[in-house]
């Protein structure tokens, strides 16, 4: 028994030593890292800045970059919020809606972007998906997080060094400098915008479409129905919309796929009485690469044009603006920092 106790004590010493060093490395890492969840920062300002959101949108990066509310907020005083974030799926859209339901105006207009890949999962491994969604642990309450995992919560808040991956190299400043120097000696060739977009379009297509057993998951479709029911129950006017893509991106999807996608969206729209507008292949955007930052994401100029277009062409949006007075709250730049 004595030998057993001694062995256990030795193990504890090693564990405590490891923990001590881990704390030290973690502290250092938190000082040198770039916040990987910076796109979630905007949510921290909702409580202090917003109480009556009039126009907003959900969605993934397509929505994040397509809806540009500068003009509506700064110039016209509407209270707007862009809830979209990169790779955001409908279950997280729903979680965000549930968490921030009290911040919506009684008459609110909400754009719900539907992308070609909205109904499948970017990653099929559940654990990998949980780590990809760690950013939600920084602002959503545990009860709203789908498949809440306390381990990820602890890592995200207290031990980010454990999920640092290659960023861990930042703990060693000398090395990072050498890497930067090496990179600067090998500048990437400018292969031309079109070629670059084409390459990115392919990569994105493969990321979203390869290795998928099913492209239109029932679970995702159900999530969208849930969001639309939520909107109905809370008096929110929902508008389904597919944002513009370059032709380089759209052409990668087969006509059959687009037809099936369109059929599913039309069915949802009809079932729920929600209007749907498809700008994915709108020639005003598809052939104008200057409106895009890459193959499927609008840049600021493109987003500004897109907002003008939908104000004119989406009756729900136009009517909303004409009948709803801005609440005067306007733009608070804090969240953008």
């Amino acid at each position: 028994m004595k030998r057993f106790a001694l062995f256990t004590a030795k193990c504890l010493i090693v564990c405590l030593g490891t923990l001590f060093l881990l704390f030290a490395l973690n502290k250092r890492y938190m000082q040198v890292r770039e916040n990987p969840y910076s796109d979630a920062n905007k949510f921290h300002f909702i409580k202090s800045t917003y109480n009556d959101i009039q126009i907003c949108n959900l969605g993934s990066s397509h929505g994040e970059y397509a809806f540009y509310y500068d003009g509506l907020m700064k110039g016209r005083g509407y209270e707007c919020f862009n809830f979209a974030m990169s790779s955001q799926t409908y279950d997280y859209d729903y979680a965000i809606l549930s968490m921030y339901r009290q911040y919506f105006s009684e008459q609110c207009l909400m754009f719900i972007p539907i992308s070609y890949f909205s109904f499948n999962n970017e990653v099929t491994n559940e654990e990998e998906a949980q780590f990809l969604n760690a950013k939600y642990y920084t602002f959503l309450s545990p009860k709203y997080i789908p498949g809440y995992n306390p381990y990820i919560d602890i890592i995200t808040h207290y031990f980010p060094v454990l999920s640092a991956k290659e960023e861990i190299i930042k703990l060693f400043p000398t090395f990072s400098l050498k890497v930067s120097a090496a990179e600067s000696q090998n500048p990437k060739e400018d292969t031309g915008k079109e070629a670059e977009f084409r390459e990115k379009a392919k990569n994105r297509y493969h990321r979203h479409m390869d290795d998928k057993e099913e492209y239109f998951l029932d679970e995702r479709i159900r999530n969208l129905y849930d969001i639309l029911s939520f909107c109905k129950e809370n008096g929110i006017t929902a508008v389904l919309i597919t944002t513009p893509y370059t032709g380089l991106y759209s052409e990668l999807f087969s006509e059959e796929y687009k037809k099936e996608f369109s059929g599913i969206v039309q069915t949802i729209a009809e079932d729920t009485g929600t209007p749907y507008y498809d700008y994915s292949e709108d020639v005003r955007f598809a052939n104008n690469l200057e409106y895009f930052s890459d193959a499927d994401h609008l840049n600021t100029d493109g987003a500004a044009v897109f907002m003008e277009v939908i104000e004119k062409e989406v009756p729900e949006f136009g009517e909303f603006l004409s009948r709803t007075k801005p609440n005067g709250k306007g733009y608070d730049p804090k969240w953008k920092e």
Partner: protein, 486 residues
């Protein structure tokens, strides 16, 4: 339960403490219950297959030992072999057989219990050993059941022999701190291999092998080398954890890997790779077929058959059979073109495999034979990993596409891999550590070497190692061990 799960992190310390607190004569019951829980945690119904195997082989072993006539003995053995192989064939190979014969699939989907290939072979080996009179049949069902279900080696080996494991399970032991300490360190090495090296390589390998049509050229060669490292770290990592875990309970399992990629011939490779399986095939397939004590032609047939069966054991697919066949051809070629004129048995882990190294002479020749063996093994891995034969063919035929413009050939691969410099460095550090560890293991037992150092040397090494596992391990990447599917 899998070794790299939170459930196991809770299960093991509790089992370890309770085992040593438990009165010595009841420990086997406790270990048996823990093993059942460990297995049933994956799927409770799996236990039915395990128990049936244990009951059948336990009874048959006693029956064949007490049988009065040799023909009756043979009959009992035959029943055992047919039952065990029959169940394995039905569960694992039925679909494959129907697919290649074009027969309609059955309406019922049969489940394949995890680890069935391993415990089937372990019990089959036990039956044959009892038949041969190598040792007596076990008369205590509790101990025998533990022999079949001992949790550290239940899911993916090492495949234990009755005379090695059964006496250890019966032995009344006192706690041995040195053994337990060695076990923990070996487990740490295993976790490093699995969670860090294999974990880091898995996404890239899966990406390229999952969609080979998206890639071309040198990237295939990189992916193949990466897979060679991935599968080694995955499986030898599992084995290290299993052996280390057993050592915590004072039980010694047989070694399964000995730096296989430092082999100078395919024969040597097989004396270092999955040793418990290759010795199993040597003792129960190759030697009964006649081994090398037959004509050259028969010897060739024996080698080919053994490796084809080994390939089939790994999985129900043409690619696995081809993989086995390629290794068979390698072995036949080595025997045929052997320069010293001796036709040594090619599948003998304990044979004098170092002879050829010693005689080869010259560092350059050694380096060449090492590289040639590694690439020959990698060539075979292409078939093992490819999802279809056409994928394997694509990878092999287009691996050198564009090599005439060498700088472009390399550049395309770098672009295809889409890795930052930081990520490449991050990837290389653990791989280099692994190569160093394996190289050092050729000369000495690294764990014992470190353990013999002063406290201020060895403790920082332990802490550094655990930190490396915590910081570099890929979280959120596929956690299953590759060999579970076999």
């Amino acid at each position: 339960m899998i070794f790299n799960s939170m459930a196991f992190a809770i299960f093991l310390p509790i089992t370890f403490v309770l085992y040593w607190i438990c009165p010595a004569k009841y420990r086997y019951i406790f270990l048996l219950a823990a093993s059942f829980y460990f297995y049933m945690y994956l799927d409770a119904s799996y236990i039915l297959f395990l128990l049936s195997t244990a009951v059948v082989t336990f009874s048959l072993a006693i029956a064949l030992q007490t049988a009065k006539t040799p023909s009756l003995k043979k009959a009992y053995l035959l029943i055992g072999v047919l039952l065990l192989i029959g169940v394995l064939a039905l569960l694992k190979y039925m679909g494959f057989f129907l697919e290649i014969t074009g027969l309609p699939s059955p309406m019922i989907q049969l489940m394949l219990p995890v680890g069935i290939s391993f415990y089937t072979f372990q019990t089959l080996g036990y039956l044959i050993d009892v038949y041969r009179g190598k040792y007596c049949a076990e008369r205590h069902f509790g101990y025998y059941c533990l022999f079949v279900s001992f949790f550290p080696q239940l899911l993916s080996g090492p495949i234990a022999r009755g005379d090695a494991l059964l006496p250890q399970l019966k032995e009344v032991r006192t706690f041995d701190a040195a053994k337990a300490s060695y076990g923990l360190k070996l487990m740490a090495v295993g976790y490093f291999k699995k969670l860090v090296v294999a974990g880091l390589l898995t996404p890239t390998v899966d990406n390229i092998h999952g969609n080979p049509e998206n890639y071309i050229g040198f990237v295939y060669i990189i992916a193949t080398i990466m897979f060679a490292l991935q599968i080694y770290c995955d499986f030898s990592g599992y084995t290290d954890i299993a052996i280390g875990c057993a050592a915590l309970f004072g039980i010694r399992l047989s070694e399964n890997f000995k730096s296989p990629y430092f082999s100078h011939s395919i024969r040597e490779f097989w004396s270092r790779w999955h040793i418990s399986l290759s010795t199993w095939f040597r003792d129960y397939v190759y030697i009964p077929l006649g081994g090398n004590r037959v004509s050259k032609f028969r010897h060739t047939i024996n080698l080919m058959l053994t490796f084809l069966i080994s390939g089939l054991w790994h999985g129900a697919g043409i690619n696995y059979i081809l993989w086995g066949g390629i290794h068979g051809i390698y072995q036949v070629a080595e025997v045929t073109f052997k320069t010293n004129g001796k036709n040594k048995p090619a599948l003998l882990p304990n044979s004098s495999s170092n002879d050829s190294q010693e005689k080869a002479g010259g560092k350059l020749r050694k380096a060449f034979s090492l590289a040639a063996t590694f690439f020959a093994v990698c060539f075979a891995w292409v078939f093992f990993r490819a999802e279809t034969l056409s994928d394997a063919w694509r990878i092999l035929s287009l691996s050198f596409y564009g090599i005439d413009n060498f700088s472009e050939y390399l550049k395309t691969a770098v672009i295809c891999l889409d890795m930052s410099y930081e990520y490449m460095v991050y990837l290389c550090i653990p791989v280099l550590l692994l190569i160093l560890y394996d190289y050092a293991s050729l000369k000495t037992n690294v764990i014992q070497y470190i353990s013999s150092k002063k406290i201020w040397v060895r403790y920082p090494v332990y802490i550094f190692f655990i930190l490396a596992i915590l910081l570099f391990s890929e979280k959120g990447i596929s956690t299953e061990f590759y060999y579970f599917q076999f």
